[in-house]
């Protein structure tokens, strides 16, 4: 599904990703962990097409096609979804208008109001989400948890095939994290080929969304890969201890 080869990325003339490689096959769940500032969020923004990040070398293939020339909306239409760490607040743009426009864009047809309302209500119910939020300005005045639930609602409505979760767990209480993560896992179980890339500092989310691979990112490249136990090891011993052995080698 996603193949990143020798990717190097700059922002403000500073190299963030350096000869980065990653392959994610259909249906796989990958996790990227690493200390602050090593390029985890950069990776998510580059995949999505944020023009502030300059790709200086390498390639990103999605379903065999070169992703780099595509605009942000074209990437989303291919099925890529980035659940953002800090979803932006847009005052005046109603969540409802936004969601319906996004659904119509992704499905390339006007979504009927009745179908839209039904989908929204079901999604909001599944997420124990206050339905009033559908009618408010997009993310404006939402709590941290409400913003993240709104991101997951979008996953349920837009039905992506590759989901990037950029620190979904930040700003979420334990109950909200469980609800969000269970909804994502349920979505994945209903869409077996959907792949997920999780960026996180904490293994708690991985209790609900089972990873196939856990990678440690340092200095813009993956320095160690393992399974769920690697995430537990990181939490217990820290990044330095976990990667020390590899560095000594």
């Amino acid at each position: 599904m996603l193949k990143i080869e020798n990717l190097s990325v700059n922002i403000n003339n500073k190299q963030i990703l350096n000869n980065f490689n990653l392959v994610i096959n259909n249906g796989e769940v990958h996790v990227i962990m690493g200390p602050n500032g090593v390029g985890k969020s950069t990776l998510s923004r580059v995949i999505m097409g944020d023009s502030n990040y300059i790709v200086t070398d390498g390639s990103i293939l999605f379903d065999g096609d070169n992703l780099l020339p595509l605009s942000v909306d074209e990437r989303a239409k291919r099925g890529i979804f980035l659940a953002m760490q800090n979803p932006v607040e847009i005052d005046g743009v109603s969540n409802q208008d936004f969601l319906r426009t996004a659904m119509s864009s992704i499905e390339n047809k006007q979504i009927g109001l009745y179908d839209f309302i039904l989908s929204c209500e079901k999604g909001a119910n599944d997420l124990s989400m206050n339905k009033e939020l559908i009618h408010r300005s997009l993310n404006t005045g939402f709590s941290g948890g409400e913003k993240k639930k709104n991101e997951v609602l979008q996953i349920k409505l837009l039905k992506p095939k590759f989901i990037i979760l950029d620190e979904l767990d930040s700003g979420l209480d334990v109950d909200s994290l469980r609800i969000c993560a269970e909804n994502i896992w349920k979505y994945k179980e209903g869409n077996k080929d959907t792949s997920i890339l999780i960026i996180t500092h904490h293994p708690k989310i991985l209790e609900y969304i089972k990873p196939d691979f856990v990678h440690i990112l340092e200095n813009g490249k993956i320095v160690k890969t393992g399974d769920y136990n690697l995430a537990l090891d990181i939490e217990k011993n820290g990044y330095n201890a976990v990667t020390k052995e590899d560095k000594n080698e």
Partner: protein, 254 residues
Amino acid sequence: MNKISIVKNNVIPFDSSNIIICNNNISILDSGNYVLEYIDCDDVKLNIHVDKNKCINLFEYSYDNDISVNNKYNIDKKASLIINKFYCNKNSNENIDINLNGENVFVKYNFSSISNGIDKYKINIYHNAKKTNSDIFNKTIAKESSSNYFDINSYVENGIIDTYLNQSTKIITLGDSDNRINPNMYTYDNSTTAVHSSVIGSVSEDELFYLMSRGISYDESIRLIVKGTLLSNINIPCEYWQEINDIIDTLGGE
């Protein structure tokens, strides 16, 4: 709803027990919803009087005029005036005075506009009595090569206690345009509460990235943001809803 049409700079008289019209003097006697529409106008001068204890919602609409407006609003004791206003003119040159003449008078001024040419707005709010409130909200979309100048002046003399002044103006630029906001609050009484914000800038890159990351095209994202900015600022009567939406829809992706 009472609709007052201003055609070729003159108020068209009509029978109503709620309004007295004499030349271009309009006295609103009963609480309720009113509309002022400017049609083929270029030089309008109105005196609008809101009677005491009345609550008035006034919607003002001007489209495709090359217009100069010099209106005075006089609001009597314990009355409130909520103005919702939408302009999309060739050019606008407006100079309005809002007089809060009695205790506990409240004015809320919500103005949304699309600027095509040279638009100049001077809004003077005179707090002539204690415990008066003014909320001024301007939101403008500045099209390529347009000019927008806002001078907003709130006045409170010494001894006019417990007043509340709020001014908020935002101009979103679509391309190169010349814009200026001068928010002035001239208060000589220490008990005044004053709040203001002024913003001039293009559509936020973060907002665009977020919308486009959900599959929404650049043009459609701009349209959503512009529409949201303008429409969230004003209450529009049903009769004007479609027309104003159609006007805004022509802006996407310029």
